[in-house]
Amino acid sequence: MNINELISEAISTLKINKMRTGLAILGIIIGIGSVIALVSLGQASQLSVTNQIQSLGANLLTVNPGSQNSGAVRGAFGGGTTLTNSDAKAIENSKTIITIKAVSPEVQRRAQVTTGKNNTNTQIIGATETYAGIHKITIAFGVFITQRDVDNMSKVAVLGPQVVTDLFGEDVTNPIGQSIRVNGQSLRIIGITAAKGGSGFQNQDDIIFVPLSTAQKQLFGISYLSSIAIEAKNHDVMTETQNQVGYLLLEEHKLTDPTQADFSIFSQNDILNTASQVTGTFTLLLSGIAAISLLVGGIGIMNIMLVTVTERTREIGLRKALGAKKKTIITQFLIEAIILTITGGLIGMLLGVGISYFVSSAMSLPFTISPSSVALAIGVSGAIGIIFGWYPAKQAANLQPIEALRYE
């Protein structure tokens, strides 16, 4: 009896009891479907978090004012006044630190912004021309802030697309040349950044950039920095750079005890690692739950197959009397179980892909289906068929034809 015949025999047997076949398959559909959906959603959220963090800049170190732990100066996080322009200059001009690609001194504050008729409250960032490169800002229209703007304390601004919409309405995308007012100062719009999207840490589109000097002296009347962003040359030198910058700033601030430091340095790596660890744990947890439902589905198949063997005892006896060998009976029952699980696996896979597609588009996550999870689903469902089908098949094949034919 060749394999094609066995398969068509199995299919016609399964068709006889459609209800039971359907219920057995349902267990596997739910199992495989939830594994695929949860794994791919987990991976999607992991990817999304990683993307968002990386969209803030690559190989990024951020120096914030304030104490790292207990110490003399303990301002609120980010609220300290201990970072100055000269710190940024010192880092940039350091002869000993050779692993730095760019340094961006920054001032950040929220402020009320007005045009003729509209107003909005948004983030104002005082930046130099290195900011765009470090934080991966791209310009849609016009230009970004230049060194010349910083030197001349120019009254210019670069707007995020969200601010443009808030101030000028949906119809206007390019208000270059128009003016906005911030803290009593009129600023001329020279550029619009490209939309970045994302709402994880802060909305990258709801921002106004002005020259650092303008922000410090004209708008806010301060001489300190909110933060210094440093881009390391590559991923491998980040820890080294972090340490060297730390020593340099201690020296600049005339501190000898590192525990007294009036600044702290964050590495993007730390955030990235923590975030992907968290999402990874969630993915694992969810997959674990899904795997349990898969196991339950497999036991369901075994149960159905055992019931089938008992119910079809006479049929098995007859088949043996008509010349079916042990091997043939085992194969027949195994194929029935595998058809159940593979069918369930394929439908479950489509279901899982469908669910993760809809959920990820609803939650605006990237839609990813890893081929490995699909291969795993097919492999696992086939394996479930063999594992949970084996015992019932063996039971069937070991029936004595005389006993089986007499069975009522």
Partner: protein, 221 residues
């Protein structure tokens, strides 16, 4: 050609031995129509199982067409049942919810005969038992007599050396039983070897030779 020599079948239940067949010997030649008669518990079913290669004798030898069935292993027995023996059961034992045609094709599937050939032969035998118009009916759509005729067609499918019928009319109304016996007589005239087990004398009377057994022994051959 069936040669049964000194066959014993002893069942062991704990320490109690039950002798189902006690030193039975007989020969059935090709083309014979033999009825095996006996009351229930006489050992005729046990004999039937041994003749049908469903069971093996404890002692003695059973040769079917020169093959010693007592020496065969499980797979060989399966092949012998498939190729050499056509079973007709009292309860028909058709596959439920399966068409007459597919039921007749079943033993040919196990023999590895091609689908075309299977359909051709199954149709041929179903015509022979007078079920030309019932080929696509499933077993539960057929009467007892019709089901038994499907079973006969299935038994003939592999053109076996012997047809082995166990109370073939036991579950069938007497009017239809006559038709079944007519088919047997017809098959006998075509040269088939038929061994039929029954306890009804009028059914046995269709056979050309009757073997009576009682308490595991042949009392009249």
């Amino acid at each position: 050609m069936i040669v049964v020599k000194h066959v014993c079948k002893i069942y062991q239940t704990g320490t109690v031995e039950t002798i189902a067949l006690d030193n039975i010997s007989f020969t059935i030649k090709k083309g014979e129509f033999v009825a095996i008669m006996g009351p229930s518990g006489s050992g005729k079913s046990t004999l039937m199982h041994i003749l049908g290669a469903l069971d093996q004798p404890t002692k003695g030898t059973y040769e079917l067409d020169g093959i010693n069935i007592g020496q065969a292993d499980e797979d060989e027995l399966a092949d012998i049942r498939n190729q050499k023996i056509g079973f007709i059961f009292q309860a028909y034992n058709l596959l439920p919810r399966t068409t007459a045609l597919k039921n007749v094709m079943l033993p040919m599937i196990y023999a590895g005969i091609s689908k075309q050939e299977r359909i051709k032969k199954a149709e041929q035998y179903l015509k022979m038992v007078g079920l030309k118009d019932r080929m696509e009916h499933t077993s539960n759509q057929l009467s007892g007599g019709q089901q038994q005729r499907v079973a006969i067609a299935r038994a003939l499918a592999m053109n076996p050396a012997i047809l082995l019928a166990d109370e073939p009319t036991g579950n069938i109304a007497s009017s239809q039983a006559e038709e079944i016996m007519k088919i047997f007589t017809d098959l006998y005239q075509r040269g088939h070897t038929i061994i039929m087990i029954t306890h009804e004398a009028n059914i046995a009377s269709h056979a050309k030779r009757i073997i009576h057994i009682r308490d595991g022994k042949i009392i009249n051959n």
